[in-house]
């Protein structure tokens, strides 16, 4: 891993020295030995601050929309999940692919539970790949949707009970939204007071409405990076909502996985005359 880390620093240094990019987004050390933080490297000297270790858990792609980024081309370190997040943001037209330089880093899983069901450990898109590709792991559809299937089996009352307990914890911090690469609106619906989509008060109903709306807004484009759940300070099982939508899309309209370079077009932006119809 240290080989790759030094290669990463070399690459970043070269990119910055040659002026290919104005900033490299990567991971840097913190005062905790088992935590890293996203850093914006803007000078060749600072490239030494980049690290690559088991604690590089934080998703980086969303940071390209951060206003700390200088103007000009950006370089981003991408693992499999980050690369899919980049695709997500590029497909959503929030950034142009040609304005990005992607440093691919094959990843054998980090210090995060989501990595156990990761199907794309190698970046799906990159400009340079550091280190050889790592073997992918097989994850069955059953494993992918295990949590969802378990909840689907409950009665409506039990389901409600479960979710109500979960949502009652929500503190509307919107960390899930801020970390999510699919949440890339300029102004989130939840911040719009005048229309009145969403109340600011913290009660079970508002919490639940926020949770479901968020799920519906991103579920059809979710790349399953797990950032939402990772950053939630209250430990809500947020992925179980978005994956429910993904599972239904898979069941209703065929195989669907987002953020791959050859992904199907946006599923709610198209239709088929022969789509299943329960509303006759």
């Amino acid at each position: 891993m240290s080989d790759i880390q030094s290669a990463l620093r070399e690459t970043a240094k070269k990119l910055l020295t040659e002026g290919t990019v104005t900033c490299v987004i990567g991971w840097g050390e913190t005062r905790f030995p088992d935590k890293t933080t996203p850093i914006f490297v803007k000078t060749p000297e600072d490239a030494e601050k980049l690290v690559w270790n088991a604690h590089c858990v934080c998703g980086l792609a969303k940071y390209m929309l951060d206003n700390r980024c200088p103007e000009g081309k950006l370089a981003i370190c991408v693992r499999g999940c980050d690369s899919r997040a980049v695709n997500r943001i590029v497909e959503d037209k929030q950034y142009k692919r040609e304005d990005l330089y992607l440093i691919g880093l094959p990843c054998e899983g980090k210090d995060a539970p989501i990595c156990a069901t990761c199907t794309h450990r190698n970046p799906v898109v990159y400009d340079v790949l550091l280190g050889g590709p790592v073997p992918e792991i097989e994850v069955s559809q059953e494993d992918r949707f295990q949590a969802v299937t378990a909840l689907e089996g409950l009665t409506p009352a039990e389901q409600y009970d479960y979710w109500q307990k979960q949502f009652s914890k929500c503190i509307h911090c919107y960390a899930c939204r801020n970390a999510c690469p699919a949440c890339n609106c300029t102004e989130c619906y939840a911040d719009q007071y005048r229309v009145g989509w969403q109340g600011k008060q913290i009660d079970k109903a508002e919490n639940q409405v926020y949770g479901l709306t968020r799920a519906f807004h991103v579920g059809d484009r979710c790349i399953e990076c797990g950032e939402c759940e990772r950053v939630c300070p209250m430990g809500l099982p947020i992925m179980s909502q978005t994956r429910k939508i993904l599972k239904d899309i898979n069941d209703l309209w065929g195989n669907y996985e987002c953020g791959l370079t050859d992904s199907r077009p946006h599923i709610l932006g198209e239709f088929d005359l022969s789509d299943r119809d329960d509303f006759m």
């Binding site: 969802v148 909840l151 689907e152 409506p156 009352a157 039990e158 389901q159 409600y160 009970d161 479960y162 979710w163 109500q164 619906y189 989509w197 009660d203 079970k204 109903a205 508002e206 639940q208 409405v209 479901l212 709306t213 799920a215 519906f216 579920g219 059809d220 909502q241 429910k244 939508i245 239904d248 899309i249 209703l252 309209w253 599923i267 709610l268 239709f271 088929d272 005359l273 789509d275 299943r276 119809d277 329960d278 509303f279 006759m280």
Partner: protein, 152 residues
């Protein structure tokens, strides 16, 4: 007072109807003097594809006991393809709602054409009956009518 105990309780059902098919069908039911329970309030919209799934959440949250989305049959949309998008959106939304504990009867989508007055009558009669049997909706609401519960 617990609403559940009120013997005169009547469910409130909100129906989003497209102007060209279902709203016309509902008007036709009136012209034919068909009778159905007075539980349904219709919101008139140009097309079923105008219905943002968030409206459904809002209706439940504010105290509706049931919500319906009605539009033209696929292929008959006044706007050619609008209801195909409706179909995809609400196939997903319905499943998501049920997953979160909303009884399947409380959210229903139906295609009702401008000539299907009888289908409109039958559908709202059936839905009203089903929801009456379920009792008031307490889920997703700011008000909590559960036994001994306080309004939050």
């Amino acid at each position: 007072m617990s609403v559940k105990a009120d013997p005169n309780w009547e469910p409130k059902i909100l129906a989003f109807c497209c102007n060209w098919c279902t709203y016309t069908g509902a008007d036709l039911a009136g012209l034919n003097r068909m009778k159905y329970p007075a539980n349904v309030r219709v919101v008139r919209l140009p097309c079923s594809s105008r219905v943002n799934p968030q409206f459904i959440l809002r209706a439940f949250q504010k105290g509706c006991d049931g919500v319906m989305v009605c539009g033209c049959h696929p292929g008959d949309c006044h706007y050619a393809t609008g209801n195909y998008f409706t179909r995809r959106r609400f196939m997903l939304m319905k499943r998501l709602l049920e997953y979160n504990g909303i009884d399947p009867q409380r959210f229903q989508a139906r295609w009702i054409s401008g000539s299907e007055a009888a289908k409109f009558r039958d559908t709202v009669t059936r839905v009203a009956g089903e929801i009456k049997a379920l009792g008031p909706n307490t889920r997703f609401q700011e008000k909590w009518y559960e036994e001994g519960g306080e309004a939050q």
